[in-house]
Amino acid sequence: MNRKSISKQAPAGLPSPVGAWIDRYRHDGGLRQYVVYLAFALILATFSILLHDDGFLSSSNLLNIGRQAAPIAVMAVGMAFALAAGEIDLSVGSVVALSSLVAAELVGNYGFLAGALAALGASALVGMVNGLISVKVRIPSFLVTLGMLGIISGIARNWNDLQSLPIRNDRFSGIFGAGGLGPVSSLLIWIVIAGALGHIALHHLRWGRHVLSTGADRDAANAVGINTARVKISALIVSATAAGFAGILLAGRLSIGRHDLGEDYLLTVIAAVVIGGTNLFGGRASILGAVTGALIMAMLNNGLILMGLEVADQLIARGVIIILAVALSMREAKEA
């Protein structure tokens, strides 16, 4: 009896944290799951050398990269959940604009908080409609959100006849973009908050585990009683709400609401998420990877500009990077 209980303890016992980490490292993808961090270091090093004389490493430029990255990072965190759940949200760019306009419309009369909350609420509503149509009518989310992209873009364009709406509220601008805590820009703080919230939600909340389960194997998730329809809807609400928050950050930094804010973010955000190790087809996500991916995209953007590339060439470079990232993601999906 005694001998038996000892032999039974050993196999399933709890290993030390370090041993467990090494074990997971070896069996769950090895070096590949850290590719994004290596890429970040590599690109940072390359630009530091190549663009040293152009002031790439100057604190003002690094801060600039961080500011550029903030809305992308926030959207990437949200998009990671949509992808993890096996969905995709192509409407995020238009939601950025909608959110900035709602905030700009309301901040003046009702204060910064009401403006921000209304902007988030409107964004969440868009996400909920996306999710409900996609799940209940069984239309793939890329089609629903593509249609929604058109609808929301149109609404944003009509909102103020393509004119920007000014935001004259120091608290709004201060909290959401222009200001900071001491020397630290508020935008950098928002990156950290979004990343931390996303990471906790994915790894330490029941919801995050259910999102991953739903995206990995919907039938299996249903079989254990997970309401996968609700999970998918909630993931699309999160991605739209994150886009709405990115809109608030842009509105705060620029002190305007405008129909074309966020217009060209979609591909950048998807690239950031996928480079960061999130599977385009569900079931695997990394929030820290997504945030790092956002920093990479902002860094690339900044570096390409400092190198003197034309807008057209930047577009080409970004497209190439996205295709490479997706190719890598698909290769991993096959191997897994």
């Binding site: 039974k8 303890q9 196999p11 399933a12 016992g13 709890l14 290993p15 041993g19 467990a20 074990d23 997971r24 069996h27 769950d28 330490h204 909340l205 029941r206 919801w207 585990r209 259910h210 991953l212 389960s213 990995a216 194997d217 039938d219 299996a220 998730a221 079989a223 254990v224 009683g225 997970i226 079931g283 695997r284 897994a336």
Partner: protein, 253 residues
Amino acid sequence: MSSAPALVASGISKSFRAVQALDDVSIELHRGRVTALLGDNGAGKSTMVKCISGLYQPDGGRIFIEGTEHRISSSRHARELGIETVHQTLSVIDPLDVAENLFLNREHTRGGWLGARIGLLDKRRMRKECADTLARLDIRIPSLRRSVGSLSGGQRQAVAIGRAVSWGQQIVLLDEPAAALGVEQTQRVLDLIINLRDQGVAVLLITHNMDRVLAVCDQAVVLYQGRKCAEVNVADVTKDDLVSYITGARTTD
């Protein structure tokens, strides 16, 4: 064996349009015994399992659990009644780790009321209980933090079975649990079935493999074209007997 059977399905019938998939089939599962459900493809084995696990509603017949009659309305209802089904597939989530799979959708939370509301996972407790469950079943997994996708087929199936049992379920239906497994892994799963039996679980095993039946089963029910054609004590029969029942060459009736 003296007390009421864990489950009695009596006179179960089920048809799909013109096809009579099950015709008056009865089956008894006893605590601490393994019952084989045999039959050729299309004999009605899976339909029978689905009627018991709540996925199908039988057209006729009654189901008793621990002597009480129940009309099983859904797989959730079946689970509440203590019946867990392990399908060939549909059982584990690859990207989640072993403990997370074991506790999927019945996670322990911490942080009191608020923690329960937002679903803050108590990972430490789940790993601990997972380790206990696996140890009790003598399931050997290298690390509970490994994603299930990185485990071998046998280990994954063991996790799925461990998951079924860790709900405290007393009736476990296994649909070809070793279908895609190698020799050694199959042996592990068979050991696990014996282990379940020894702990008083009533097991129903669907399989095509006669050696497995002879190795672990106490009782065998054979279906032929939707009807029960034989019910035997495995100790009393040979492999050839079982095969002749399955092919319809013989019946015990």
